[in-house]
Every structure is written in structure tokens, then in C-alpha cells.
Symmetry: C2
Subunit: 245 residues, 2 copies
DNA sequence: AGACGTTTAATTGTCTGACAAATGAAAATT
DNA sequence: AATTTTCATTTGTCAGACAATTAAACGTCT
């Protein structure tokens, strides 16, 4: 493992890159123990704090885990889908909030991806997924539910829909798109009327998935997408009206 | 900014989390300067190396950038889509390689997502995207192209197709799915015959996008998906036959 | 011999103090 | 007024030390 001595970046960054590349290339297999911090410091001819900074960088990406004690050390971590979900959601959320992505753009992306899952979900859905979807629909009908709780249940419903496709890669990719939308959705005030409408569409979707009818599921998802867009437009229109008054 | 003093995790991890939460919540806006390392050490009642480890964790996620000098320090970084692409691709690639995701699963996810883009791409494609697609198709027909170069061009073609949808959120999500497939695709040996077939389908897709015919584009993408799956199955079948011989 | 506590060595986590390098602002000089 | 010099601030790096944790090696008692 070599580091580039001509570049002007941090040593800890160079060292992190060298180790990261070794992991990606497969030279360091999963669960392999890295040399101790002292050994790494020797190998790279740097001090231990510098090595530690490099290791923390890798730990932040879940590429390694560390353990104290006699047989401890840093080990190459098996990156699990569940671990990656969190990072994916954080990154997606920040991308939306920091880049002035419009509600329309985010919403379009989310429903386009979700509609891609629907046919697979219709084919493979298990009783479990159907039960989760029904439970969330029921929760959404409860009176006294705050807007935040309604949105959270909405996310749970859609994640069940996506997970029903039985493809972990799809679930991973969609997690970011679906969850990152929640802060944007939270800006909408859901009236009793709009909740009723959404719950109805959720029911239609669940019915179609239960019946394994991919076409109908897609149709109702499209309806939900356009209704969501319309709700957001109303909010924006009202805000502008108030602003100009 | 407070840290949880009851937990048993690293101090640097707790501090990183506290700062990360402040960024996500918006308490620390983009380009805001964090207190100096010495000040942070005081505030959190830890030493400077510990603060530095926390900052390196955040830097690894592109949440902050640092600058030396009198007016230097750590600044909240605007997370750009281009920055996020790289991390997304790395993570996706490792997820596939470390979790024994089958070619079939990854391929299914990729083409499902890509077909979600196609209707939007058909509507919004610009001359630029069409030109890129045609150029890559032309490159793919060049004799003497290595399998790796063929795959790379394939990726470039599909990224142009996705980018044509004009939705940066979609492009970001798809980048991981498309690029992470490349190492898997590289395992396939493309015969002259199979290249011809793929190039033909690429041409069909480009034609459909040019004609803004979403339905046809979807059809040809589906055909490409199933052909790719078949190629992979042949490779696996051959490998098994050799293994049993 | 076997079960159970004790010591010990290895390793990460944290702290202290120090110096180098970069960099912009202030001060001095022309 | 323009330019150069000095200086204070901040990050980057290093060395050495000690605390906390952990499993293995060792010893002791039954």
C-alpha cells in the first residue's frame, strides 16, 4: 500500500484513500484485520494521530470497525444494506435542502422510481408487506394524527411498497428518494379532505398490489403523484398570494 | 450543541454526530464557519486530537471543508450532486461485491430504474444528450475495442440516457445503480455477435428517444434488459459446465 | 486434571505540549 | 499610495504518555 508523496493534500486523506482502494480492489477482504495503528504509522512513516484520523475517515463511511483490547484492532467491515440506508438518506436529504431542489423535481424523481418498483411488487408481494401497508393505511385514518405523524406513516407505507419488490438493491436506492422527500412533504398542511383523498389512493394501490395487478397499481401511483404535485402547488400559490398581499 | 455523556461510544463519534445534526437541522447553514479546533475542544471539554478526529469524520462525508491560515477553519460544505456521485458509486459497488448480490438482482434493479427515466428522457432530451448517445453507439462499433472499453462506453450511453431526463435527483440515484453494475458486466466476454445485438438495441433506444416515443423506448430497454440477463446466464452456465467437467 | 481467579501483554481511546506550514491582516517602509 | 515585512491565527503533524479494554497466558485451589 503506497501513498502519493507529491500531492499536497492531507496525509490522513492520502492514507485513507490508500486503504479504501485496497478494500475496493479486494486486496483487503471482509473481516480482515488491518495492522495496528502503531504498525500503520510505521508503514506510512507518519505519526499515530495521523493514522487515527485516516481510520476515522474510513469508519465514517462504515468501511471499517474498530475494537479495543488485546485481539482488537480495525477490521474491514461488511457493508450491509441497512448500514448504507442511513448514509443514503442523510446524503439525499442534504442534497435536496442545500441545492434548492424544487418540490416538483424531487417528487417527480420519487414517483418515477417508485413506479418502477410497482410491477415487481405486484408480482412478489408477501403477506407481510401487504399487512404493513394495510396497517399504515389504517393509522393514516386515525383522527388527531399530526401532520408529521401522517407523513411518517406515508413514508412507511411507501417503503413497504418498495420492499415488496424483494430486491434489496432497489430498496436501497429508493430509501434515499422516499425518505428525503419527507422534510419537503412536512411543509404541506394536510386537510381532512386531502388526507381522505390520499388514504383512498393508498387503498387503491394496496388493492392492486394484492390482486397482483401491475397496471392498476401503476395507474393509482400516477394519480397519487399528480395529486401530491397539485397539493404542493396549492401551498406555493397560497404562500405567494399572502406574500403579495 | 450538546453531546450525550451517558453513551459508551467514542467521544469523536458523539461530537461528529452533534455537529452533523446541527448541519442537517439547518442550525449551521452552508459556508458557516465552525469554531476553531481549540474552541471546539473547549466547548466539548475534550482535547484537540479528539475534535480533529470528529472533523475528519465529517470531512469524509463532504459535510465540511477545512482551510489553513489566519482566516481559515472548518466550513459547512454545500453538498453538490457531483460530489455525492462518487460516494454513491463507491457505496453501491461495495454493497454489491460484499453481499453476494446476484447479477440477476442487480441487473433487474438497474433496468427497472432506467425504464423509470425513459419516458421523461423521451420528452425532454436535448440535442446534446442525443449526440452523446450516438457518439457512444459509434464507439461501441469500433473494431478492436476491449471488453472493458465496451462496458465503459455502455455506461456512458446509459448515463446520457438518464441525464436526458433533466432531473438531477434521478441522475444521482441512477449513477450508483448504473456504475456499480460495471464490475459485474466486466465478467461477461462480449462476442462480436453479442456486441452487434447490443449496439442494435442501443440504436433502437436512441431512435425512440429521438422520436420522443416513450413506449418504444421502454420496449427496447426491456429487450436490452432481458438480453443482458440471458448473456449473464450463458456465462454462468458455461462456468458451471467447465467446473463439473 | 479441571475449574476458577489473576496477571499480563496488546490495542484502541484520550490527553498534553510542541512545532511546522499556510494565510490573511496589520504594520512598516519606500 | 504601493509594496514589503511582520505578525497573529489556524490547521497539519509529531512525540510521548497514560487510561480503558480485552483476551490469552498463568497460577492456584479443589
Amino acid at each position: 500500500m503506497k501513498i502519493d508523496t507529491t500531492t499536497s493534500t492531507d496525509l490522513s486523506q492520502q492514507i485513507a484513500k490508500a486503504i479504501r482502494d485496497a478494500i475496493i480492489s479486494g486486496a483487503l477482504p471482509v473481516d480482515e484485520r488491518l495492522p495496528s495503528e502503531a504498525e500503520l504509522a510505521d508503514q506510512f512513516s507518519v505519526s499515530r494521530p495521523t493514522v487515527r484520523e485516516a481510520l476515522k475517515r474510513l469508519a465514517a463511511q462504515s468501511l471499517i470497525r474498530t475494537q479495543r483490547g488485546a485481539t482488537g484492532g480495525a477490521f474491514v467491515n461488511r457493508l450491509r444494506f441497512e448500514d448504507a440506508y442511513g448514509q443514503q438518506i442523510t446524503t439525499s436529504t442534504l442534497l435536496l435542502s442545500m441545492n434548492d431542489v424544487s418540490f416538483a423535481t424531487a417528487c417527480e424523481a420519487r414517483y418515477a422510481l417508485e413506479r418502477a418498483c410497482a410491477p415487481l411488487s405486484a408480482t412478489r408481494r408477501s403477506a407481510d408487506h401487504l399487512a404493513t401497508m394495510r396497517a399504515e393505511i389504517h393509522r393514516q385514518g386515525q383522527p388527531g394524527l399530526t401532520d408529521e405523524a401522517f407523513c411518517a406513516s406515508d413514508v412507511a407505507f411507501h417503503r413497504a411498497l418498495v420492499d415488496a419488490a424483494g430486491n434489496p438493491v432497489l430498496s436501497y436506492q429508493l430509501a434515499g428518494a422516499v425518505e428525503a422527500m419527507q422534510p419537503l412533504m412536512n411543509m404541506i398542511t394536510f386537510t381532512a379532505r386531502s388526507r381522505e383523498m390520499i388514504i383512498g389512493l393508498h387503498g387503491d394501490i394496496a388493492d392492486a398490489i394484492t390482486a397482483q395487478d401491475a397496471e392498476k397499481a401503476d395507474m393509482h401511483l400516477a394519480a397519487l403523484a399528480s395529486y401530491t404535485q397539485q397539493l404542493a402547488q396549492d401551498v406555493i400559490a397560497k404562500r405567494n398570494a399572502r406574500h403579495n398581499a
